[in-house]
Assembly symmetry: C2
Homo-oligomer: 125 residues x 2
DNA sequence: GCGATTTTGACAATCGTTCTCAGATAGCCC
DNA sequence: GGGCTATCTGAGAACGATTGTCAAAATCGC
């Protein structure tokens, strides 16, 4: 079973305080700047756990970094992300879900999963 | 202007000979195994060029590797990829293109780009 | 063939991430 | 509270994909 530590709480809180997607390293830097003595490896582990439990969304940036964001809606959803400021809008689109399932089935593919993210420049940028 | 070298030709050929997506390292290993003295850095550079020129598709695997594949259809398209054998089907879906553009516009996002890939297990796996 | 310019490749450097492992700690039983 | 034990933590090393370096080699226009 998972133990409750102040480190995990701190990571969860720091992540929630952020608007858009953050890297593990950035979050660690922010925590240290706030006076926390938390270790980098711990931040990585906590973020991975949050993502697995569905409490955080994760995606890979174009240069291969893993980015995380506190989840707002609980269910399956996608993102519209500002490539400049990182501001993120959560999107639900049944049409996409159905399309993905249908396309997979039509080609004989089982257990379909999909990656759908939209990037753009937001109104304030 | 781009120069024509046997190295680039070899990379292009090796990539075309493959069915699904390959990593730069795998392709390099295959080339070496075939007797070619080509360097790893050159394979990376050639693949990046192919992707830029639209002659190869590229995507990031879940563990952060860049994968490449010889392009069949020329225009913008997406992929249905077998998570087991790598077999890939190219997909064109105007509905998705329109949906992405519309979702971006509705939220005030300009210059939308999107990532859409479907993974599954193909019929033969 | 010549020369300017580009490309190559061995190797080092980078950088995000994971591993290691000894010490700290949460949760549980008494 | 005190003690026990499995889990968690963190400093640093290790790792692995990718990129940078730079001298030597190759291309292409002349
Ligand atoms: Zn913005
Ligand atoms: Zn979806
Ligand atoms: Zn398959
Ligand atoms: Zn598209």
């Amino acid at each position: 079973m998972k133990r409750q530590t102040w480190q995990r709480a701190a990571v969860r809180e720091a992540l929630t305080a952020r608007e858009g997607f953050v890297s593990a390293q950035d979050l660690h830097t922010a925590l240290k700047a706030g006076g926390s003595p938390i270790g980098l490896a711990t931040v990585y582990r906590a973020l991975a756990d949050l993502a697995v439990d569905g409490d955080a969304d994760s995606l890979q940036s174009s240069d291969g970094e893993n980015l995380y964001r506190a989840c707002i809606s609980q269910g399956h959803h996608h993102h519209l992300i500002c490539r400049s400021c990182g501001r993120t809008v959560e999107i639900e689109a049944d049409a996409i879900e159905q399309w993905a399932a249908q396309v997979a089935a039509a080609n004989g593919f089982r257990e379909p999963r999909h990656i759908v993210d939209v990037f753009g420049t937001c109104a304030s940028c």
